[in-house]
Amino acid sequence: MPAWAHAVLLEHEPAANATLAAAPSEVRLRFDEVVTPVLVRVLDASGKPVTGPGAVSAIDTTLHIALPKTLPPGSYIVTYRVISADSHPVGGSFVFAIGSAAADASLASRLTGGGNSALWGIVMTALRASFYLAFLIAAGGGLFLGLVDRDGAAQDDRHLIRIAAIIAAGLIACSLGVEGTAAADLPVSGLLDASAWQIGITSTLGTSALITFLGLAILMFGAAARVRHARALMIGGAVIGAIGFAATGHVATALPHGVSTPVLVLHVLCAAFWIGALPPLARRLWQLPPAASASLVGRFSHYAVAAVILLILAGLVMAAIQLRTPSALLETDYGRRLTAKLVLVFGLLLLAAANKLWLTPRLARHDMSAAITLRRSIFLELTLVIGIVIATAAMGETPPPRALAEAMPMDHDMTMGEADQAPTGFSVATMAANRTAIIAVTPAQAGPNHLAITLINSDGTVMVSREVSAWLSNPALGIEAAQYKATPTAPGKYALAAPLPVAGTWTVEIDALVSDFEKAIFVTEIPIR
């Protein structure tokens, strides 16, 4: 599974592929930040869990999994799924053994899962987009009534705000269950499982939802008829709701928090003001005589220009934080989604400019046809807004270049099936003609050994070869080279069992047949204790 997100497993006990004489009392996983455990279990060689959900406790950045007192000898798989602060799930597994048997490293590769992640990605995007839209209409409507249309007699608008707020609250509640189900890698029926909801609630999305609920509740109260300080309540509710956005997601985890959090809140509020004002504005243009609508539109424009400028500035600051380089706009998934959003925003700006520079003056001259054109323009704007909201929601599903850059020195191979943990063997990177081979030998002690070979192209992608073999020799001891054929275990990965009967420095030559005409040869030395 992708290991983009922030939480990184720094170390764990027992080590991967370790063989312990006796059963340990617990398994410890230490991460680089506090994580929410989702599904952390120890399975036996048949895949049966030997620990229940109650066995896991989180203390600071470490997860402790209590093991049963009597664990029979054999191989065990530790599998974990956690949610990091940016609300993305991170997972992995490793194998250890109790007793004299060697840890069966192939066990981890038998674990299946993650098949639903693409589906959940689409569901989350759709839920998030619908939530954004409902929230923008509710909060924006509140801001419009609070700031622009102060007469506040509009019963229909208040009604729309309340409905949108209820829908927004319902959607964010649904997304908690979906987040939990996706994170725990449960089937769709997991939505009926209380534990999936609990996972969603305890993640940062839960905190975000709580703040947003509070904001929406205040907003609804303010939008109810005959309430004192209704305008202040509506504005305050919108602000609190927007603060909820800053509690989770990519912007929430971007440093510095002192910049990213207020900028995001400002961005959400300005977007809400602009977009949420459209439905009541459209209705006014329908109902009011031209003179009254002209004064209202004039007042709206007054605020809208400021809101749009702030919206764009805040968006640019966030884009600069997340993208780091302009080229990332086209080169990364996140950047391309942002580019799509920017194109739609540009279209929306053009429409808004046409409204302001061309239609508003006509409206001021009591031109009836201008009101009709403006209404059409507002509906077109709403369509563009839906596109923008979908693009924004899609950005949440893919890691921004910033996270990729930060993750680089921290990410670990989360699928530690092979013997790649330093203490249990020896691994070396060796280059030949710009290609790199990683040769990992376990346990790197005299006797039977396991060789895992990973071949990488100069661009960092795995190099798939037709045939890979290893020549093992020990020139110092006069042991001539013997050839062993490697079997592919995954694209670009090969493994073989090799006897290295005596301690000393062994020469390993890896021959990889790239094509009928090309062979890559890597030569290195492996110390065997």
Partner: protein, 149 residues
């Protein structure tokens, strides 16, 4: 007499020549780190072996972090994966570049954040060339190469 002297002399010369041929000359260039965001950091550099014997980087240490490890990162069908290494080979007459998205030195448990513009010391231990002391210059958090290059 001349002949008697010359034979060991030639042998000596030959021995010196052989010894010279077996030494590696390691040169480290563009040693830089990214400003750290968390308690982990990454150091990149260019390692040049101008000698004609193979060598390998086997250990790294720095006073600024609890541990320093050699790592390699790769793009495994779209998923970036990282794994620790015991050694990085630097073949005779070749250059190995430690760059973002490739091999690097990972610093675990930074005692203080790596700040842009500051530098810190690091020692690199090679199997044959022994220990080398280098100064690592810290660049921006998202830097993709040595800005001072």
């Amino acid at each position: 007499m001349f002949k008697m002297l010359s034979l060991p002399g030639f042998l000596m010369l030959g021995f010196i020549a052989t010894a010279a041929a077996q030494t590696t000359t390691i040169q480290i260039d563009h040693c830089w780190a990214r400003a750290s965001v968390t308690k982990t950091g990454a150091v990149y550099m260019t390692i040049k072996n101008t000698g004609n014997a193979d060598d390998r980087l086997v250990a790294v240490a720095t006073p600024v972090a609890d541990r320093a490890q050699l790592h390699i990162e790769m793009n495994d069908n779209g998923i970036m994966k990282m794994r620790p290494l015991s050694a990085i080979d630097v073949k005779a007459n070749s250059t190995v570049s430690l760059v973002p998205s490739g091999m690097h030195v990972m610093l675990i448990g930074l005692k203080r954040p790596l700040k842009e513009g500051r530098s810190f010391p690091m020692t690199l231990t090679f199997e044959k060339a022994g220990t080398l002391h280098v100064t690592v210059a810290t660049q921006k958090a998202g830097a993709t190469n040595d800005m001072a290059m």
